[in-house]
């Protein structure tokens, strides 16, 4: 709908006026056109600045080391696709990417379960302790990572959960719960109550109502939580750095840094590995863009 109305507006602005009907009109039109060119100029420059490092990475990843170090050309004259094969094999990227996917899926599943349940309780159920628990969930959001990570490391050491997939996923889930709960709480609060009440009159239990009536209707809220927490889990770095010594358990970020430092690969191979590592997240971003934009808005403003 918005697209249509802006197209109309666009059309209106471009109606050619051959014979100026008044003194003001052409001057004003010329100013609007100059403004528009300036606006697009600004946007294009910003877009180039945003994209240049990424395009440069792709270009560098397709050059030979000599070409890259000589830096004669910004574009690969003779693309070396083999760099990608070398990067994939030498960098063990298959293993690291599998780890990242496992952690992200585990984290998102856990966050969805815990925050949809908690969000529902806080939005719809009335019970003793609700105010305190709402306060706790809000309050832990302002505890910053720098105050936490050391103690979390120590706790997981005590529990024997360092170098453990379970330990890492539990940390990821916990850090996503407060924001997930807030998003789900405001989502449930905005939904009509009719269906729940009808199901309750039919004698369905609260758990049953939640599972078969509430959750299926909560897909937009769940999607917003899933994409935003999925990105956060995929890109998490600090705890992955602290918790894993064992390469076979590391997510892709750790894999890239250990590829970089331990084996000193040639620069173009490292760039190819970096390029491969961002494929999943770029594809996900382009596909789920709308949800991401909405999720970031919901997470920040709610």
């Amino acid at each position: 709908m918005t697209v249509r109305s802006t197209e109309l507006a666009d059309h209106r602005n471009h109606i050619p006026i051959d014979a100026p009907s008044g003194d003001q009109v052409p001057v004003r039109r010329r100013r609007i056109r100059a403004d528009r060119i300036g606006l697009y100029g600004l946007l294009v420059v910003a877009a180039l600045l945003a994209l240049f490092p990424l395009l440069w990475m792709v270009s560098g990843s397709l050059q030979s080391l000599d070409e890259l170090l000589a830096g004669k050309s910004l574009l690969p004259l003779n693309p070396k696709w083999g760099n990608y094969v070398t990067a994939w094999v030498q960098g063990d990227l298959g293993m690291y990417l599998t780890n990242s996917i496992t952690y992200t899926l585990g984290a998102v599943a856990g966050i969805l379960v815990a925050s949809s349940m908690a969000g529902y309780a806080l939005a719809r159920l009335d019970f003793w302790g609700k105010g305190i628990f709402t306060f706790i969930i809000l309050a832990v959001m302002i505890i910053p990572a720098p105050a936490m990570f050391l103690a979390q490391y120590r706790l997981l050491t005590d529990l024997g959960l360092t170098n453990s997939r379970l330990g890492y996923v539990l940390i990821l889930i916990t850090s996503g719960i407060p924001m997930g709960t807030l998003i789900m709480r405001s989502f449930f609060a905005s939904q009509p109550k009719d269906l729940e009440e009808a199901a309750a009159l039919d004698g369905a239990s609260a758990v049953r109502i939640f599972a078969s009536v509430i959750l299926p209707l909560a897909k937009p809220g769940l999607a917003a939580v899933a994409v935003i927490q999925g990105l956060a889990a995929w890109n998490e770095y600090l705890m992955a750095l602290v918790l894993f010594d064992d390469n076979s358990l590391m997510p892709i970020q750790r894999g890239l840094t250990s590829f970089d430092s331990a084996e000193t690969p040639q620069q173009q191979i490292l760039l190819a590995a970096t390029a491969i590592s961002i494929v999943p997240v770029i594809v996900f971003y382009l596909l789920a863009q709308r949800h991401i934009v909405k999720g970031i808005g919901a997470g920040a403003i709610k």
Binding site: A47, A50, K130, A145, R154, L155, L231
Partner: protein, 311 residues
């Protein structure tokens, strides 16, 4: 946020449950909350308390002994020059990142909101860096900034600006500005998205009325856009400021705090004090000092914005 808590909800929650129906309702509520509460209690609240405890102990990270040492850790933290240097650096990070990053964000949001074609394209491109991981950003810019073969220096050379060439990450005077520039490139899209969403919520009638009154572009921004965006500006300010103060990965991958301590930031300092120097007690004291300052800052900001929105 905490200000949203209605007083009546608080009062109700302090009243003990009475009667069977009440108890059943409470059990049901607790059941739904239990996964969230158990995880938060175990992995957030317990470590938070432990961090405070650990700041009064001495621990090398391995041994089971953690003797209490009183205020010794805090004394050594307050005498630690690297820690205070890191606090100064992060203040520069926060101030520059805040004003430049949010300035770019709001300018671009207004620009994108005013064009007709290509809105989605520009929005997609501008947030794109924000979905990358710090390691990716760090590796790309390490290559771009490299003094000998780096593309940035070569481009300056081609443009005839060879005198501007720098050892971007190695020169003590250039390292911090370079890292801050990367941080802004990486993160300005977040504020941009929120500002853009805020702009799209401003009723178009306001601008139509201003047009009828013959208002200029700047007047429209000053008297319509800026006040209408105030709630978004508040939340973006808080979140971007806190994010800049907690910067870790960007610095760790690009310079690891060097050269010397010229790009050291508190989170990285805490990390190296613990995992490189094995002084976990000192590191915990640092995290209490720095984390406490961050908590205070967000409380102040939240109180101020809650009061302003009520007024």
């Amino acid at each position: 946020m905490p200000a949203q808590l209605a007083p009546s909800a608080l009062r109700r929650s302090f009243r003990a449950p009475q009667g069977r129906a009440d108890i059943r309702r409470t059990l049901l509520g607790l059941f739904f909350l239990s996964p969230a509460i158990v995880l938060i209690a175990t992995f957030t609240i317990t470590p938070f308390a432990q961090a405070i405890l650990l700041s009064f102990q001495s621990w090398d990270g391995v041994s089971p002994d953690t003797p209490f040492v009183g205020w010794a850790n805090y004394e050594s933290v307050f005498k630690n020059e690297a820690f205070w240097a890191s606090m100064q650096n992060v203040a520069a990070f926060a101030v520059v990142g805040f004003f430049v990053g949010n300035g770019v964000a709001i300018t671009m949001a207004v620009a994108v909101n005013n064009v007709i074609r290509g809105k989605t394209f520009f929005r997609t491109v501008f947030y794109l860096p924000g979905v990358l991981s710090v390691v990716v950003v760090g590796l790309i810019f390490t290559s771009l900034f490299s003094p000998q073969s780096g593309t940035l220096n070569r481009l300056l050379d081609i443009a005839g600006l060879g005198t501007l060439q720098q050892n971007w990450l190695g020169d003590p005077a250039m390292a911090l500005p370079s890292v801050i520039a990367v941080f802004i490139w990486f993160h300005w899209g977040f504020g941009f998205l929120l500002f853009l969403a805020g702009l799209q919520d401003i009723p178009p009638e306001l601008y139509e009325a201003a047009d009828l009154d013959g208002a200029r572009t700047w007047a429209k921004f000053r008297y319509i856009t800026w006040p209408q965006l105030a709630p978004v500006t508040t939340i973006v300010s808080l979140l971007t400021l806190l994010a800049a103060l907690q910067v870790f990965g960007t610095v760790q991958v690009l310079t690891n705090g060097g050269p010397g301590y010229h790009t050291m930031v508190p989170t990285l300092q805490i990390y190296s004090e613990a995992f490189t120097n094995h002084e976990y007690g000192n590191a915990a004291a640092m995290s209490v000092v720095f984390g406490g300052a961050l908590v205070l800052l967000s409380l102040v900001q939240l109180t101020v914005s809650a009061r302003r929105s009520r007024a």
